[in-house]
């Protein structure tokens, strides 16, 4: 039976340098004396790496540090917002389609009306008779056979 391993459990490390904003230490001589140490100032490699960690990885670590409940809550909130957005968009689409249909129907009716007026006018022109009543013209234009309509159109010449 294998013995359990001997474990040293390290919770945290925190180190603060005695010198701030130092980038490099060098030995000025072989005395080993405190005062012989030369300090170059500037951002150290460690400082630069620590600050790289701050932006990207901290966000990830913060996310991982959330409880499962918090993560579920955030996910639901995002999904909920997306769902509301989707429903609102759908309503907007339906409304626009409806308005569009009405508008199209109105435009069709208008076109139909103007087309008919044009046909009347052409017929009256062909007959050279503007005194003729609208109703009688309509009767001639909307004759029983489509052929008669075409014949009148051709005879009008100009159109």
């Amino acid at each position: 039976m294998e013995h359990r391993p001997f474990l040293m459990s390290v919770k945290s490390v925190r180190v603060t340098d005695g010198v701030t904003n130092s980038s490099i230490y060098t030995y000025g001589d072989h005395s080993g004396h405190w005062d012989s140490i030369q300090i170059e100032h500037g951002e150290s490699e460690a400082y630069k790496e620590i600050n790289k960690l701050s932006s990207a990885q901290k966000a990830r670590k913060q996310w991982e540090g959330l409880s499962t409940g918090a993560k579920i809550g955030i996910a639901c909130a995002i999904l909920g917002a997306l769902l509301i957005g989707a429903i609102a968009f759908a309503f907007y689409c339906i409304k626009q389609r409806k308005a569009g249909r009405i508008e199209k129907a109105q435009n069709d009716a208008e076109w139909e009306k103007q087309n008919q007026e044009l046909m009347e006018y052409r017929t009256m022109m062909a007959k050279g008779n503007f005194a003729v009543s609208r109703q009688s013209v309509m009767l001639e234009v909307n004759g029983p056979k489509p052929d008669s309509q075409a014949r009148f159109s051709r005879l009008s010449g100009r159109f």
């Binding site: 919770k11 945290s12 925190r14 130092s22 980038s23 400082y47």
Partner: protein, 230 residues
């Protein structure tokens, strides 16, 4: 680890400086020490997969490190195992604090130290078999013939039963050893070679003093540990 090798090294005088530091500034011109120049802080939990290699050099036992809700777990599983982490950055004076729970078991040593390239050293050391006190110490230039250990009380809960705050506050004028917020020892300035006064890394870890080939080291560590091997 230092205790195991340094006495051996000092007995072979020419090897002493080279055993443990890549370059001893007392003898030669050494590379620059990259400074910290600010505050570095990490709290360990299961979101960690490894120690950040931008800041830490794992000189031993990388496979023996794991993370859980309590923190970083450094494990010794068999004779010869050790785990050591040393910072890539150096501080020159400053405050170093580690909160940890020491490994229980005689012969097992949990440590937190400041160590310079010329082997100035300031230590907190906890012996796993000692349920009443911990020890602090300092050395100049790796000279182990100096005896500067003190043994502040640590009981109820002892160092293996709970997490404690081990802090070193180091200036040119004095070194303070602080335990759970209480200053338990103050050491005043002395000359180079006795009082640590060169830029130092922070280093921590666990090693088996009781596994040493040196009987003196085994005795100091409290005896050989039981790994449960046949």
């Amino acid at each position: 680890m230092f205790r195991t090798f340094l006495p051996l090294a000092l007995s072979v005088a020419t090897a002493s400086a080279q055993t443990f530091t890549d370059c001893n500034p007392l003898n030669s011109t050494c590379p620059d020490n990259p400074a910290l120049g600010t505050t570095f802080a990490e709290t360990y939990n299961k979101t960690f997969e490894e120690f950040d290699k931008r800041f830490w050099n794992i000189t031993a036992g990388e496979s023996l490190i794991s993370f859980d809700d309590n923190g970083a777990e450094l494990a010794l599983r068999k004779k010869g195992d050790s785990v050591t982490l040393k910072s890539n950055f150096y501080i020159f004076g400053g405050v170093a604090e580690i909160i940890f729970r020491a490994a229980p078991g005689k012969g097992i040593i949990s440590t937190m130290i400041l160590l310079s390239d010329n082997l100035d050293e300031i230590d907190w050391e906890i012996k796993g078999g000692n349920t009443t006190s911990v020890s602090n110490n300092y050395y100049g230039w790796g000279n182990l013939s100096q005896f500067h250990s003190e043994y502040p009380e640590m009981a109820n809960p002892n160092a293996m039963e709970d997490y404690h705050n081990y802090t070193i506050d180091w200036t040119k004028e004095r070194i303070q050893f602080i335990l759970n917020g209480n200053v338990v020892r103050t050491v005043g300035y002395q000359e180079p070679g006795i009082y640590p006064q060169s830029p130092s890394r922070i280093q921590f870890g666990i090693w088996c003093g009781g596994c040493s080939d040196q009987p003196g080291t085994v005795e100091w560590a409290g005896g050989a540990p039981d790994f449960g091997e046949a």
